[in-house]
Chain length 202, copies 2
């Protein structure tokens, strides 16, 4: 019998490889989490709330967005299986978050409360280090995305997105992807048509 | 006599307030740093290098940039007195950095080597916590900047920049600010003229 039944293999894999956890340590760490179902369109976090719970996606996918001064939804990122969701700033500082985290599919999240997180960091330094590295990687990725936002054309951004997350286009509606790329949905449609023609010609 | 002579008051202030350091602890922490002069246009870090030293700016100002696929300089951020410079990703992972950090004025940096940093984190948990919070704040700021990049018009970005860093325009050439805002220098000039006319009218 698989002792990790019901847990996404990529979560186990990351704990083993990046976290250097033994199977016993994985079982111990997971005992601090609880599985929560989040239905499509349901919110994991809402702007104005204080983020008291972080989660690792066990199944499904989420978008994180904010509402700008003109009332427009600005998509910051999508998150899939094994990714961490919540808002680290609000979680760490206890200030209300400015982000919404909403399920795009019926999803399942392994949740850890602030209290359990702090305890687990204390009793299991490996978890602390693992979490720290995850937060840092997220920082580096954000910085690189900012760089690419400043330097890349919409077409370049789109192509690198396809290459990096081919599954994105199967799971996320196009107008959300347009928002993520910082362009209008009509521009994304035109861009896709243009690229499609190019491909047929070549 | 001022026991912190030669150290920018804002650095001492931040260590006292955010770091909760006593004066004795500040003296101890500073003994792990060495002051380095970086002349205008000199590099603190170059793309391709591994960042082995982090620094707090004691005097002067720097730009961090990268070169995009088209050979264009993309400015990620400017940094002034009391700000941390270097590349945390490269410092932590020992991978070559993709960033250049270059002085825009004759500058002075309080530098700490990786070895000293690790020792100081160990012997002084307050410094570890202080550094962790600084890195986290930098993460949150990057995320917010990405958000504003996606949602704000160039005019809005420019106005919020003036409000946040009024000193920027005295110290940094306009074409660098244009790059930071992700627009062409000509567009920034036009934008400034337009806003100036508006101001005169009102």
């Amino acid at each position: 019998m698989n002792q990790f039944e019901g847990i996404h293999p990529e979560i186990i894999n990351k704990l083993r490889t990046s976290g250097n956890f033994t199977d016993e340590e994985i079982i111990e760490a997971l005992s601090y989490f609880e599985k929560r179902t989040v239905r499509r369109k349901e919110f994991f976090l809402r702007a104005g709330d204080i983020c008291r719970t972080k989660g690792y996606i066990n199944k499904g996918c989420f978008k994180r967005y904010t509402i700008d001064d003109h009332g427009k939804e600005i998509i910051i990122n999508f998150a899939f299986e094994e990714w961490m969701i919540g808002d680290l700033e609000s979680f760490n500082t206890h200030q209300p978050t400015i982000y919404f985290v909403q399920a795009l599919e019926d999803s399942e999240v392994l949740c850890i409360s602030e209290e359990n997180h702090l305890t687990l960091c204390e009793v299991m330094p490996k978890y602390h280090a693992f979490h720290k590295r995850k937060a840092e990687s997220s920082h580096y990725a954000t910085l690189k995305r900012l760089t690419s936002f400043q330097s890349k054309t919409p077409e370049e951004k789109y192509l690198s997105l396809i290459q990096k997350y081919p599954q994105l286009f199967q799971r996320v509606p196009l107008h959300y992807i347009a928002s993520y790329l910082g362009i209008e949905p009509e521009s994304l449609s035109r861009l896709r048509k243009r690229l499609c023609k190019k491909e047929k010609k070549s």
